[in-house]
Symmetry: C2
Subunit: 487 residues, 2 copies
Amino acid sequence: MISNTYPQTFLELPLSRDAGAAPLQRQLHARLQAAILGGKLPAGTCLPGSRALATTLGIARNTVTAVYEQLAVEGYVLAQRQGTQVAPQWHGDTAAPAPPCVLAQRMQQFAPLRTALSYRPAALRPGEPALSQFPLAAWRRALDLAYRDGSAAAALAYGEPAGEPALRAAISRYLAVARGVSCRAEQIIITEGAQEALTLCVRLLTNPGDTAWVEDPGYRGAKAAMQAGDLSMLPMRVDGHGLSATPEDWREYPPRLVYITPAHQYPLGAVLPVPRRLQLIEAARAHGAWLIEDDYDSEFRHAGEPVAAMQGLAGDGPVLYVGTFSKTMFPALRLGFLVLPPALLAAAQAPLVAMLRGGHRHEQLAMAHFIDSGQYARHLGRMRRLYRARQQALREALARQFDVPHTVEGGHCGMHLTVRLPPAFPDHVIAAAAQAYGMAVSPLSGFSLAPREEDNGLVIGYGNTAPELYGSLLGRLAMLARQASKV
Amino acid sequence: MISNTYPQTFLELPLSRDAGAAPLQRQLHARLQAAILGGKLPAGTCLPGSRALATTLGIARNTVTAVYEQLAVEGYVLAQRQGTQVAPQWHGDTAAPAPPCVLAQRMQQFAPLRTALSYRPAALRPGEPALSQFPLAAWRRALDLAYRDGSAAAALAYGEPAGEPALRAAISRYLAVARGVSCRAEQIIITEGAQEALTLCVRLLTNPGDTAWVEDPGYRGAKAAMQAGDLSMLPMRVDGHGLSATPEDWREYPPRLVYITPAHQYPLGAVLPVPRRLQLIEAARAHGAWLIEDDYDSEFRHAGEPVAAMQGLAGDGPVLYVGTFSKTMFPALRLGFLVLPPALLAAAQAPLVAMLRGGHRHEQLAMAHFIDSGQYARHLGRMRRLYRARQQALREALARQFDVPHTVEGGHCGMHLTVRLPPAFPDHVIAAAAQAYGMAVSPLSGFSLAPREEDNGLVIGYGNTAPELYGSLLGRLAMLARQASKV
């Protein structure tokens, strides 16, 4: 059984049966106690039923009930009529109070926030492009054109739910040339960034409780969309060549959706090799699964030949392609798209009309003009050179100033590098401390549903930060890492 | 039991037990047969379990199984291991082919489309404002200001997930004065129109299978959001004073969400009187339910004093207020908002950060400027006078040119009138025929989950259509109505 509440997936990792290991009961008790004290299981969380957890772990049910009873005696949990629930904890060393149980169950699984609902500019933020280099004047001219057009007043109305035909056509031409994606304009649905595209995949294709495979470590936005859709997420380990799935995985945990970042695994940076791509497509066909290909930043390739999109390999196959202009243009544009396979097109019409409203038509018309006039391609070329230089500078600064044991992952593509750290340097602590110095590096362990020792490190974005700052920022990060290792 | 698939709610209407009525078995058979032939139950739909349906209808289970067996023999349904499923129908007189079963179950419940995924401008479309009168030049100046601001480049980045603080503050001030809504800026979440606000309510507050009350007839967008969230919708009849719920309703079908349009019931136009508002608030408090107040067009009040929002009556109570700029500004702006009650604010932070991305920051800053500079209030005043005149003209044209028996509903507010027709004039047929003449009037029966004889009529928008056209358009509509009555 797989939990549909992703922060609880760690509960289902196998217990150690090594000769020297502690008794199973003590291992399980320690795991739950640590999770409750550490805030991983906030107050009000319902623990899995003892029978289900025993089956998952392959241990006796008695062992689970004994652990639950012990935790109840210790005050960590409450034995309720409906099941065992985590009790309110009063030691108060976790940052946020547990939310009251007014929310939907799935909503209570989002990790409590350590910060308010606010946004502060910060250096080294992964996924944020070089906004100071964005050709704002050219973009405003494209917008002006859309607003001066004879049909500008007509474009104030509701538009096609799938977005402006001119933009869909421009994207389909661009994708064919730049990404090897094979599609007609009618297959393209314009969305509010990649996030709405992922939400649409979940809504269109899954029922509550369906299984979805996610890369582990992997993109959190995809997990949020699946969480909001009541899916059971199965973390699939990522190696140096991306997601790896065996025939046994397909047999034992057949997924309805598989989320992948084949061009540039997020955040580790692997490229999924063609044989693995073909295997995934074939297995998905055989099992009636759908592959979601998130191609979020492959435009910025820094080494070797471009890798074409998986979608182009699949023909009318089971691939839904997700793209975004958040990285190539700017995040606040909130413009992304979903390429539906032809097989889904007819069936999806009625749900899409019911759920989508079109809109932002002048922005979409401006974007179409930006692409068709060649300005988009020129902007991408400039940014590719800029990011390549920034990545090189960041690598050098890591080698010179980040004098903490580390290895660098990925880097053939995109706007970030991932640095692995030994477990003695806890990534959450370093990232939290770095905030105070205006840095928004992300802890690698936060990208994992079931973090292992090796999932410790920092995801460092170089897109939005000028190279002159790298030396001092990385020197500061190294200092914070050394401080964190001493606590 | 209530079905969670709203087009199936008609299955659960009581059978007639009058002395002269057909036997129950024959009534049920006729109902199912008509629904399958008419496309209400498309191929692949799973019928309710015989036990559940028997309980709902208060009839013997044998009766239901006998009907299912008969339908199977006749080829209407397939008796599958998982249950009884509607078989593919080949007579082909319904417009759209049944979608293959690749979609999520809930997605197959959206009525099949008779038109493609496209949008054509049309007269008399409900909900579309007078776009030719929109002050486009003033709006472009406000946008220019936002783009010329010193922080224009910074506003290209991801912003606060809940939206620009300046706009949230401007809306909170506006709502206090214009709508009697009592809230701080922090309670306001900027959304992609009202539709995303409704989706957020469903996601934040409900689990799959929860019960939601919807006005019947009522707004389809709210039902789409609930359908996508796997809710069980209970249609609540609307009388001349809006939604009417008895203590028995609250006891027997306690809802988790109640969707209401108290200022201007959509589409019938009633105002929910204060005693009913207070009763709803009190009952919702007692039953742990949440009220969603959709205040979509109350700015355009044409008669009497403005009616303040329900939210202001509830204090920290169980009301989530939904507003939109789609009617007051323009639909393609896709700008709406949700006012969360203070009790939800802390708990909702983490889910909102996980699901929302902010964005469209220049547009939001422009909107804030438009409100704060007084241009928004002036625009509303102009539009109010315009719509008042258009409504008067439409009433006169109805009286003069629409020479078919009818009664006019509502009209104290907004941009539409609803005209009831005798059952001999089938509204779907008239509305479909009107499309060919460039009119987008909506059939009243389409707003109902369980349409009754009286739910037959036309929802006519006057916002987007100049009064000089009303005479000829309504003459044409009357002709189409007479033709439809003869088929």
